[in-house]
């Protein structure tokens, strides 16, 4: 049953691929503006790279979160999803996973290319990708709580940002921290471990909170 949901969301994302692409382009452009604005000072660029890439990833994920439940809410499919004979926890899990695959995974894939603009070494690029692979699911899952709470409200996109961005702070700190440590030649493993624990926690608890929020929003 879950595979139907993921399959449906992947097909929908493909047929509406302008949405996913706009998120990706937003990410690419925001990250690329910094080297252009700051100029070719390799040392400076290298030291700001982790923060820039990570902040851009946070903002890009804001763009796709607004759509997570809103489209389904509008055409009534969300009502049907809430009434399917499987735990709402799983429904949310499936939807958020599909959102991660379509909106966040492309960012992770393009990030090494963007890292080159900042003169990052191979090892650092690897750390950047690992930190994004671990961190972006947290963005999707925590963001889904905000998306569910603001469902059907006017100016919900602004509200989502206000609600969710503060919750992203730990991910930002450990994600960018891992890359920074790697730039300075230190081992990023402590940051990576902390980031993985955040991932596990959000995977377990966020769908449950999102399900509760959805029930409140739909009533």
């Amino acid at each position: 049953m879950l595979r139907w949901l993921v399959w449906r969301d992947l097909i929908l994302a493909w047929r509406r691929r302008a949405d996913a692409l706009s998120t990706l382009f937003f990410f690419v452009i925001v990250v690329s503006l910094f080297p252009l604005g700051i100029g070719p000072e390799t040392e400076l660029l290298r030291s700001i790279a982790p923060g820039v890439v990570w902040v851009a990833a946070l903002l890009a994920s804001m763009l796709s979160l607004g759509r997570l439940f809103a489209n389904d809410h509008q055409d009534g499919t969300l009502e049907q999803l809430l009434l399917t004979p499987q735990p709402l926890y799983l429904v949310v899990f499936g939807k958020v996973s599909a959102q991660w695959l379509t909106s966040e995974l492309p960012l992770v894939c393009i990030a090494p290319l963007l890292g080159v603009q900042f003169g990052l070494s191979n090892d650092t690029l690897k750390t950047l990708v690992i930190s994004l692979v671990l961190g972006t699911p947290v963005l999707s899952f925590i963001g889904s709580i905000g998306a569910a709470l603001t469902l059907g409200l006017k100016s919900s996109s602004v509200l989502i940002s206000i609600l969710v961005l503060p919750l992203y702070v730990p991910v930002l700190i450990f994600g960018a921290g891992a890359v920074e440590a790697s730039i300075m030649g230190l081992s990023p493993s402590s940051h990576i471990y902390l980031l993985s624990s955040l991932t596990v926690l959000s995977l377990i608890f966020a769908p449950w909170a999102t399900a509760a929020a959805l029930r409140i929003s739909i009533e």
């Binding site: 949901l5 509406r16 055409d75 499919t77 049907q80 499987q86």
Partner: protein, 156 residues
Amino acid sequence: MLSPSEGRVEWQGADIHSLGEEYFTQLTYFGHRPGIKDELTTVENLRVAAGLSGVALTRQKADEALAKVGLAGRESLAARLLSEGQRRRISIARLAICSSRLWLLDEVLTALDKTAVAFVRSLIEEHLADGGMAIVATHQDIELSRGVTHRLELTT
């Protein structure tokens, strides 16, 4: 029938809150928003809806159900190209393939022509004859010849 603001809803003697998803397996809801995805084709819409409610539906069976509601030849058309009435027919096809006992139908006859109305009526009658139940909220008259009907008129 889903989450009452007052009182309690019981299904076979048990509160629906304690039953949880088990209650939803017995229930099919037809809302005033059709629950149709514009980007999916007619047959994809039906198969996804069936898959999500736990009914495995082969392509062939889905085509048959769509033919019954008069959508033959439009299986591979994106739902956004259909008229409002045709979109409602996809939802009606969903009723025809589901195996749940309780139907909640909210304004099921809206935007339907005469033949479709007759089809919905025969569908409900068949469902009642099979021992099912249906709660129908409607502004139009719907005369059922089979089963026990209770009529509740709501006035403001």
